[in-house]
Every structure is written in C-alpha cells, then in structure tokens.
Amino acid sequence: MFTAEMARQWIKESAKKIESNKEQLTDLDQALGDGDHGLNMTRGFNAALEQLNGETDEPGKVLKGAGTSLLSKIGGASGPLYGTLFMKAGNQLEGTEVQLSDLSSGLRVGVDAMKKRGKAEREEKTMIDLLEPVIELMEEKGNELTADHLIDKAKEALENVKEFEAKKGRAAYYKEKSKGKQDAGSQSSYYLIESLATVLDKDGEA
C-alpha cells in the first residue's frame, strides 16, 4: 500500500533532507549552474510542507498539491520539472486504495512528462538520469519494492550521472568540463528517492 499518510511523509522527509543539504546543492549548482538550486529547492519544499492537507486520504491529491507548490515556488527550470513530476504522478493515482505498483505507474507518467517538458533524454546529465533508472526498477519490482532497492539503484545512478557530459541548461556551456562534476538536479532527485526509501522502511517496521 501507498497511503496518503505515506505521501505526506514523503514530502516531509524530502523537505527535511533538502533543507539539511541546502549548502551542498548550492555548491554543486555554483560549479555548473547559477548557484540557486539549494535555496530554490528549500523554498519550494517548505511551501509544499505548508500546504500539506492532513485531511485527505487520497495519496494522489497529496502529491498533486505538493507539485503545485513546487511549480510556483522553486522557480527556474526545476520548478516546472519537479512540479510536472508530482502533478502528473498525483493525477494518475486515483482514490484511497493505491498500491506501490500504482505509484510506479504514476511516477512513470510523471517522468515521461518531465522529459517532454525539458526536452531531455538519458545521459544528458539531468534529473532524468537519476529518476528514470529508479522508476524503471520500481516498475520491475512492483509491490515487492523495498527501501534497499531504491537506495542501491539511486546510488548507482548518482555515480553514473557524474561522468556524463552536460547537454541541458547552463551546465551545457561547460561541455566536456562538466564531466566528473555532480549535477545539482540529480543530487536533489537522489534526496527525493532516499526520502521515499525512508518512508517505505518505516512502513515495513509498522
């Protein structure tokens, strides 16, 4: 099961991780971008936290609400990208009875919409390089998905993205000099996946 409470925990945990790694995200973005990723993500997730609806028992509504906040508060390119991910995924999840396999299908729709929005493909050193391999694994594992699956795949993807040459955004100006440096968007996507893993872990204990 993926309940509305788990969706709320996912947003809360993400906000916490983003906030405590704000400086790191800023430093990564300073090397290849404009250096505002830490601040923008913190602002966006704090807004998503504030609007969390404690009443609803529909996980889709929780994710959609968070997506709307992220869209309007993150700004730049990350706002419409993360906004699209959560809004589209949320739209896919209907009702209160949502399984982990439904969450995977929802995130698949979300990441496809993100790719379209950012006109991005794999190996262009973007959040897609972190999110899509993880979502593929989620689709494969279905309801058997565990926190360890998520963490292992996300770590592997994070290592890979470092070596890619940036093709999108301001980082693309650096061409081959971008190789070997971490992408700030992939790093923030990593924290989102790590947060989802924490939520699954807690659910397993309960």
Binding site: D34, D36, N40, L71, S72, K73, G75, G76, A77, G79, P80, L81, G83, T84, R117, G118, G169, R170
Partner: protein
Amino acid sequence: MVSLVLVSHSPDISKGLKKMLDEAQPEVTVLDAGGTDDGEMGTSAIKIQTAIEKADQGNGVVILVDFGSSVMNAEMAIDLLEESHSVKIADAPLIEGAYSAVMEAGFGKSLDEVVESAVLAKDTKKVQ
C-alpha cells in the same frame, strides 16, 4: 489587436523592454512577465499564465522569451490555462523579435503574422 507577453530571466530587462514597446505602439497591450513570483532572477509559469490571461484582448497572445527555463515555463503556462486562448511562443530573439511583433500587432495583423514577423527578426543583419 494581438497582445504581447515578455519573459526574461531579468525582471529589469522585460520591464525596460515593455517601456520601449509602449512608446513604439501605445495601443498594443504588452505585459511584462519577467523574473520569478518574488521579482528575483528567473522565470515563473504561474506569472506567465496570469499575464497571458490578462493580456488577451480576444485576438491572441504572442510570448517573447529569452532562453532556457523561459521557454519551459512559457510552455507550462500555456498548459495551465483554464480557458481557451490563442497563444504562440515566438522562436525569436527577445528584444528584436518583440520590436517587430509590436509594430505588426499595432498594424492590426493576425497572430500568425505577428509571430512570423518576430521570427524573421532572427535573420536581420546588424553589420553589413
């Protein structure tokens, strides 16, 4: 008349550009949607969406953008529109394109003609 929405990362650039366009064709509705919701450097889909809704006089809106997330947020803004508006993003340089567009819009041209004039501004030679 066709209206214009200007999107640049710098709110000062779109504000200054609007002033220039208002002097060239005062009858054309030109809205500045540059910067983030807080007036910082960046772009915002919500800000652009609101500007499109306000700007449209019934003959459509052309959006002029600088680069990067301006394009992405302009596309997202169009997707967010609840009522139907004729909107096009001009594949044109922001300043030169907006100047051509405001002239044509002021002459009462259609949305497609206004967009085309903006796109043509891309090929204008500055140094012979």
